[in-house]
């Protein structure tokens, strides 16, 4: 005898059908009634994209590379996200910031190329956790469907937030990070200013 793996298995019998069952029609009517009754029930689907389902604030969707409040890119291409990534979806190339580019890049090193392969990405959020510069965040946006595989490799043009269209990620900030940002003396919380005066900020 085979081992019973679940309790959902059913015993099959060769029972002979009654004349009523042989007619089939009552069973068909019964089935149609069930179908008809669903016309008056609440639909479980939504009309995406016109209608959006509510998502948790910490939903892990498309990534964003943040800028600081001066509009300089926070990412310094340290590679922590790429090494933390279990799907090996992130690649980057580093470059040195030149004089006069201080308003574009926060640190003396920056990512000249930063790519995430959205087909590889499993949206686990480990890159966000690994980031020491608060540069990469996952947002509640959904990665678009595409026709070509290459278009899923998102470069800096798609990942870095636009200066005039900033993306709010404050909901993803943990309590520890919020506390940490209140300490103005830490280099991490210092702001770059063109007049070389270091302002303290909480961003």
């Amino acid at each position: 005898m085979a081992i019973q793996l679940t309790n959902r298995s059913k015993v099959v019998s060769n029972k002979v059908q009654t004349p009523m069952e042989k007619l089939y029609l009552p069973a068909i009517v019964k089935g149609m009634l069930i179908t008809f009754s669903h016309l008056f029930k609440k639909t479980p689907t939504v009309r995406y994209p016109d209608q959006l389902r509510s998502r948790a604030g910490i939903y892990r969707g498309q990534h964003v590379l943040k800028r600081d409040e001066n509009g300089a890119e926070r990412c310094t291409a340290c590679g922590m996200c790429a090494v933390a990534c279990p799907a090996e979806a992130i690649t980057m190339e580093n470059g040195e910031r030149k004089k006069g580019e201080e308003h574009l890049y926060r640190e003396e090193k920056y990512a000249t190329k930063y790519e995430i392969n959205m087909l590889r990405c499993i949206f686990c959020g480990l890159c966000e956790e690994a980031c020491p510069k608060e540069a990469i965040f996952l947002t509640d946006r959904i990665v678009d469907a595409e026709y070509e595989r290459d278009t899923f490799i998102y470069g800096k043009d798609k990942l870095v937030e636009k200066i005039d269209k900033r993306i709010d990620v404050s909901i993803r900030e943990t309590k520890e990070v919020a506390e940490f940002k209140k300490i103005p003396g830490l280099k991490h919380n210092e702001l770059f200013d063109s007049s070389k005066q270091l302002k303290k900020g909480k961003h």
Binding site: T76, A77, G79, V83, E88, G95, E107, K109, P132
Partner: protein
């Protein structure tokens, strides 16, 4: 001479230091070092990370030493008993030493090229505390170019003197040293005079932090995305045995080979280090052995076979039947 370190007894010749004796036992009990370097004479005694507790001076004088001692500068006595990792007092003291070393450190690891192979990073991770208590302004210096191949970040320097001793002993006519004293001390050259000796590039390898870095490798790639291979070429100036760091078919940098204590095996010349950046210049021997604990071994899969064998061995010992042999 018999010496006991952390309860492990070892026989060593006269004149051995506690540190060398501990290294003979193994990496578990060997104290960490930031300034001591086996191949450089008179190195050691500056950083104090290798401090140990001597609980019994010797057989003749069994009194303990009153304070923790620097193991790199203290010679063993017969019957000496030493505590390193078994002494909570020493671990606490070492935590303090790390805190002092990090007082003026800019903590710019995401930018620094040394990250991933930095001894100060390892030391901070293993012995330091996660938070800083320092509230004052850190020391600030401008970056200096020492010659056209070396970049000096004085902010990251811990004043270990290794580079000074390398120039003194490996090259002739050293042109750089430490000027000023105490808090104001810094590595400097005579009016930014370039180091142009054939072996001057070795200061990059001996530097335990990211103070002296290779300008030809500056911001090229994080070390853990490169692939280190042992390679050699025939060189008239040095042994030509080096470690070549590859990314695809590109040679990103060339360094000397390092042993398990992160010390250079053989010093290499500048022409090997800077001027031969083609794969065709080198005879590649095979992948370098990198510790599994190092971030550089991330995404390298050489160890998988080894691991598989270990698992099989353990399964066999436990009496498991391999999956493919089950009925």
């Amino acid at each position: 001479m018999k010496v006991t370190i952390d309860g492990i007894e070892i026989d060593v010749p006269k004149g051995t230091t506690i540190l060398q004796a501990a290294r003979m036992i193994g990496p578990e009990v060997a104290p960490p070092t930031m300034c001591y370097y086996t191949k450089l004479k008179t190195s050691g005694g500056y950083c104090r990370t290798c401090i140990v507790k001597v609980t019994k001076g010797s057989t003749q004088n069994p009194n303990p030493m009153p304070k923790p001692v620097a193991s790199c500068r203290t010679e063993v006595m017969d019957g000496m008993e030493v505590q390193n990792i078994t002494s909570p007092e020493i671990l606490e003291a070492r935590k303090g030493v790390v805190e002092f070393l990090l007082i003026n450190h800019p903590l710019d690891c995401p930018v620094c090229d040394q990250a991933g192979e930095c001894k100060l990073q390892d030391l901070g991770y293993e012995h330091g505390s996660a938070k800083t208590r320092y509230e004052f302004k850190r020391r600030e210096y401008d970056m200096i170019d020492i010659g056209d191949k070396i970049k000096l970040h004085m902010t990251r320097c811990i004043l270990c003197y290794r580079c000074v001793k390398t120039c003194e002993q490996i090259t002739d006519g050293r042109v750089h040293g430490v000027v000023h004293r105490g808090d104001a001390a810094e590595i400097s050259t005579y009016i930014a005079k370039a180091i142009d000796n054939e072996f001057s590039g070795n200061v990059i390898d001996v530097c335990p932090v990211g103070a002296l870095t290779d300008k030809t490798f500056r911001f090229k790639q994080r070390v853990w995305f490169t692939k280190p291979v042992d390679a050699h070429r025939s060189c008239t100036k040095c042994s030509g045995k080096t470690r070549v760091w590859l990314k695809g078919d590109e040679v990103l940098r060339v360094t000397a080979r390092k042993d398990q204590w992160d010390e250079v095996e053989e010093f290499i010349c500048n022409s090997c280090r800077y001027d031969h950046k083609q794969v065709s210049d080198w005879v590649i021997e095979g992948p370098s052995k990198i510790s599994r604990q190092s971030v550089i071994s991330q995404n390298h899969y050489e160890h998988l076979n080894e691991l598989k064998l270990q698992v099989l061995k353990q399964q066999k010992a436990l009496g498991f039947m391999p999956l493919d042999k089950r009925p």
